[in-house]
């Protein structure tokens, strides 16, 4: 049984060989996020106080701004990959699907930029 449509045979559309790219990115970003999320969650939960001075000091010290920026970038990338799959699976209308994918993609990019900006601004502020 040939599962390809006559149209796709005529147009010579076949596998591009890139179908596993999305799958791999989701797994590799998950693998990288596992230790980073554990570090971030435990660090924030175990802070002795969560007042302004303690939190900004923790965000700005040592490798924390680097790891925090990395965590945010990876988290938004992983979130975008996941949302993409969910939207593609559950939104059948082509127009709505495309609009929603564009909206989520742009939102993920904007929020990731905001997060990294906030971390750098805290880390690079002049010490009073």
């Amino acid at each position: 049984m040939n599962l390809r449509t006559p149209l796709s045979r005529v147009l010579n559309h076949g596998a591009a060989g890139e179908g596993v790219g999305h799958w791999w990115q989701q797994r590799v970003s998950a693998l990288a996020l596992a230790p980073l999320c554990l570090w971030l969650a435990l660090s924030l939960l175990c802070l002795p106080t969560r007042d302004y001075a303690a939190v900004t000091a923790w965000i700005g010290i040592g490798v924390h701004p680097v790891l925090l920026s990395l965590t945010l970038l990876l988290a938004f990338w992983h979130a975008w990959l996941g949302i993409q799959v969910v939207v593609e699976d559950y939104v059948p209308q082509a127009g709505v699907k495309t609009a929603l994918l564009l909206l989520c993609g742009f939102a993920a990019g904007l929020l990731a930029a905001c997060g990294v900006y906030a971390v750098l601004r805290i880390a690079l502020r002049p010490l009073a």
Partner: protein, 130 residues
């Protein structure tokens, strides 16, 4: 158009609790997207200065928001534990039915225990009370 094999609709399957976990993985992932927006907002407030941060902490201290934070911690614990289970499957481990069912029970237990611990650390330790 040739006849194509179409995957049966969800309601045709006999329900198993491993399917519930699969769906909850997506639901918790979406919940974590919202938690991520909250995390960035909190960071922006901290970057804006002490006044903005104090205002943000006032919002976080209200009871409905505390409940949302607890739900976010549950989503994180579950997505983390079940994500490791998925990574193990992808590496070829634990894909037998009995193993998958056992690991599902482990994931639920670990996620619930981690949530309780996280909620306690969040709200009942020195940091949570202030």
């Amino acid at each position: 158009m040739p006849e194509r094999p179409v995957s049966p609709h969800v309601t045709v399957y006999k329900w198993t609790y491993t399917m519930t976990l699969s769906i909850l993985h997506r639901v918790s992932g979406l919940a974590l997207c919202i938690a991520l927006i909250a995390l960035v907002s909190w960071l922006l407030a901290a970057a804006a200065g002490p006044d903005a941060y104090a205002a943000a902490m006032l919002v976080l201290a209200s009871l409905p928001v505390k409940i949302l934070i607890a739900i976010a911690l549950l989503a994180l614990s579950f997505h983390f534990a079940n994500g490791l289970r998925h990574l193990a499957w992808d590496a070829g481990w634990g894909f037998e039915r009995a193993q998958a069912r056992r690991s599902a029970a482990v994931v639920v237990a670990v996620a619930l225990l981690a949530t309780v611990a996280a909620v306690l650390l969040m709200f009942w330790t020195g940091a949570g009370r202030q």
